[in-house]
């Protein structure tokens, strides 16, 4: 059986799993209170099932598999031969879009999926439990659900157009890079599925010398009052109407590096066009240019489809990320007035930076975030409001679910 993705970061597969939170990198606070139980879950090593044991439907149990060790946040794994074959298969299946007629056909062509260690990854969307046809249907939606105002998220038509502009060779290289990064991040996905959604680990998912604390952590493991990361001074409004991605990335990197690079810098690295930025590029750049992807934080960021997440699971994911990983979330809502009632008008998909939570026992859970969109810059019939905002988390959950991709960068 081929080896499973293995950590390339410190730690060995056979290492005792007593690598308690206190031993981890800077800033981690997993040791507090009931979070300790959660940390135990994380401290065990999720030994991923072999690729060869996973069927096309994903989440298949594994056979005997050499274990990999994962820290609280799994690091990047190595490509296994099975993963490499899967990448080759999916990339090779790509056709010249010039020979493909019709929006639906192009969508089907772009939304090809790979299965790595039992988890499905679809190009442009991320990790999902939906199948290729369902993912393609999202891209092929006949019309955007929102009005004309765009803030910088790449919509379905723009995704198709961007792909169509690439040469076959360029597209193949881009897809290969995306799939390679995904394959090496699969341990993170298993971890989230298990911890947040309670998905059982595969039978052969060995955990070293300690027992897994199975099931998801309780929300009571987290502070009940306001908790936040990132410096609220380190966020700016987007400079262009289509730069929510660069502005969000600026705030994330500013938090990581402690210095501000301008939004144009991030726009170049994100491949942002006037049509906007793709979430897969947001994830890629967070991984490449910040330390939030290291084992002291969140491990490699992935684009994760949360369509099958309940609100409680989604909110738990936010708390997990902000509190335990000390890492921001790439929020990906659709900016409609019904979710953001202070807006003057409906707008497009959008990027925000999730950086806090408040379980608010006397009320309803709140989410803290940086809002790059300053409508007063682009529509003078509206007043300026602060970029630092806290709000009803359920509204943000619904805004995320209503986005055609319904995914987040975590």
């Amino acid at each position: 059986m081929p080896p499973l993705p293995s950590r390339t970061q410190p730690g060995t597969p056979s290492e005792p799993t007593s690598d308690a939170p206190a031993e981890r990198g800077r800033g981690r606070r997993t040791a507090a209170g009931a979070a300790a139980a959660l940390a135990l879950t994380l401290a065990v090593a999720p030994f991923l099932p072999s690729d060869d044991d996973s069927g096309p439907d994903g989440l298949a149990p594994a056979g005997d598999a050499p274990p990999i060790a994962a820290s609280a946040a799994p690091g990047l794994g190595e490509l296994t031969p099975a993963m490499q074959r899967e990448i080759d298969r999916v990339v090779a299946a790509g056709r010249d879009l010039g020979a493909v007629d019709g929006r639906s056909a192009v969508a089907r062509e772009l939304a090809r999926c790979a299965t790595f260690a039992g988890q499905r990854y679809c190009l442009g969307v991320g990790w999902t439990t939906q199948d290729e046809a369902q993912v393609a249907a999202r891209l092929a939606a006949p019309a955007p659900r929102t009005g004309q105002e765009r803030t910088g998220d790449l919509g379905p038509a723009a995704i198709l157009a961007r792909a169509a502009r690439m040469s076959p060779r360029e597209r193949a290289a881009t897809e290969r890079a995306e799939l390679t990064m995904a394959a090496r991040s699969v341990a993170k996905v298993w971890q989230i599925r298990h911890e947040i959604q309670g998905v059982p680990l595969p039978e052969k998912f060995r955990v070293g010398s300690r027992a897994v604390v199975s099931g998801r952590p309780a929300a009571t493991a987290y502070p009940t009052d306001k908790y936040q990361i990132l410096n609220g001074r380190r966020t700016l409004a987007q400079n262009e109407y289509y730069w929510c991605g660069p502005a969000a990335m600026q705030a994330i990197a500013w938090g990581s590096q402690g210095k501000r690079m301008n939004q144009a810098f991030w726009a170049r690295r994100l491949r942002t066009s006037t049509a906007g930025t793709a979430i897969t590029d947001m994830v890629r750049v967070v991984n490449r240019h910040t330390d939030y992807d290291d084992e002291a934080h969140a491990g490699p960021y992935v684009a994760l489809d949360v369509a099958d997440f309940s609100f409680d699971e989604w909110y738990l994911l936010m708390m997990r990320h902000v509190h335990d990983y000390q890492a921001p979330v790439v929020l990906h809502p659709v900016l409609l007035k019904r979710y953001f009632p202070y807006l003057d008008d409906d707008a497009s998909g959008h990027f925000q930076v999730g950086r806090g939570f408040d379980q608010n026992p006397d009320g309803n859970p709140r989410l803290g975030y940086f809002e790059p969109w300053d409508q007063s810059r682009f529509d003078p019939s509206e007043p300026h409001i602060p970029r630092v905002q806290w709000r009803n988390a359920y509204r943000s959950y619904r805004a995320n679910q209503d986005h055609f991709q319904h995914n987040v960068g975590v």
Binding site: Q148, L236, V322, P341, G363, P380, P383, P386
Partner: protein, 377 residues
């Protein structure tokens, strides 16, 4: 539009040095904070963001607190998905398609479909028993909006020509009159009025340079609007009623600079205040009555809508067992609960839409969504 460009440039200039904007320097890594009335104190003693005291300290010393009597309206399902853009009137209904490029009117005398036009989409739909006004905004927000007025009794469709509408902005209609933004001399951002019966339109008050206005509401009791300046990190927002001369007059009882929603009532005004700038969606509502200012409690920013003889606003669940509610204020004075979501805790309501004396409401919650309508009288 020149005025928009000028004001945008002014705002942009003001925002250029915004590194200190919206500050709440949290310690890094994570910081656990406890709520205080000022909210920013534990985060940032150096914060420049103004924060007002807790809602309990807002309003005048004579504030009273209104009770919440349950008086649910007779809500009917619209038969449409919760996110459909439907406005239900007494006899007529307007449905805008998902791409917002076609509006379909249906009523007792037939139906009518109107396209938004090339590179436009519908941004506003206003409907009462006599008129429908459909506003199509330029997708690039550069050309003036195109507004068509439909006389429901005859099916006649006329375009609003003078004053020419600005792009986008806030529109309101009541008692055969229309209020909307237009561009005045020197590119000023102005309030236009139009008598729908004879299409007689007039320029009106214009905002001063580096200021703007939004949030128009209109009813038989009068017209309300929010005005604001380009102050940073938070604009100074003033709630106003438009007087008989067409000039906005601040609501004297409202706390300065923190207002958002406003509407006229028979006894004065109802308005909202945003106590914490970083919780832009959480407002407190207040109203004037013959006995003074009445504290109407929590509500959602941007949800205030006059309809029939009342004014309505949305209130998110206040605890995990609470439904989302639509609150009704009548000058009685009385505050009533007009709608409750079946979901508790994780629930919210969309902005209510009024047509004459009919409200349309979208309700979202973890136990299911619905879009409903009800007569308010």
């Amino acid at each position: 539009m020149a005025v928009r460009t000028a004001l945008a440039a002014a705002l942009l200039l003001a925002a250029t040095g915004c590194t200190a904007d919206d500050t709440d320097p949290a310690s890094s890594p994570g910081e656990r904070t406890t709520e205080t009335p000022s909210e920013t104190a534990p985060e940032s003693p150096a914060s420049t963001e103004p924060e007002t005291p807790e809602p309990s300290s807002t309003g005048s010393p004579t504030d009273t607190t209104a009770g919440d009597r349950v008086a649910l309206l007779d809500w009917q399902d619209t038969g449409e998905p919760v996110d459909a853009r439907v406005t239900v009137g007494d006899e007529w209904r307007v449905a805008v398609d998902r791409s917002r490029t076609t509006a379909e009117l249906t009523g007792p005398t037939g139906g009518l479909a109107l396209p938004a036009g090339p590179r436009r989409r519908f941004s506003e739909v206003l409907l009462d028993d006599e008129w429908a006004v459909l506003v199509a905004q330029d997708r690039a927000e550069s050309r003036p909006s195109v507004a068509r007025v439909v006389e429901l009794a005859t099916g006649d469709v006329r375009r609003v020509v003078t004053p020419e509408p600005a792009s986008g902005g806030s529109w309101a209609m009541a008692d055969g009159s229309l209020w909307y933004p237009t561009t005045g001399d020197g590119g000023a951002y102005c309030l236009a009025t139009l008598a729908l019966a004879d299409s007689n339109g007039e320029d009106g008050w214009c905002a001063e340079p580096r200021t703007g206005w939004s949030g128009l509401t209109a009813s038989s009791a009068g017209v309300g609007m929010m005005t604001f300046d380009d102050r940073r990190p938070v604009a100074c927002r003033t709630v106003n009623l438009v007087d008989g001369s067409g000039l906005p007059q601040p609501v004297a009882e409202a706390e300065p600079c923190t207002g958002w929603d406003v509407a006229a009532t028979e006894t004065g005004a109802i308005w909202s205040v945003v106590p914490r700038a970083r919780r832009q969606e959480e407002a407190t509502f207040h109203a004037t009555s013959e006995d003074g200012v009445v504290d109407l409690g929590a509500g959602t920013t941007g949800s205030l809508v006059p309809c029939g003889d009342s004014v309505f606003f949305v209130r998110d669940p206040q605890d995990r067992d609470d439904p989302a509610r639509l609150m009704r204020w009548t000058a009685g004075p009385e505050l009533e609960i007009a709608y409750e979501s079946r979901s508790r805790g994780n629930a919210f309501l969309g902005e209510p839409v009024c047509s004459g004396d009919v409200l349309t409401l979208s309700s979202y919650g973890q136990d299911g969504d619905e879009q409903v309508w009800a007569r308010v009288d």
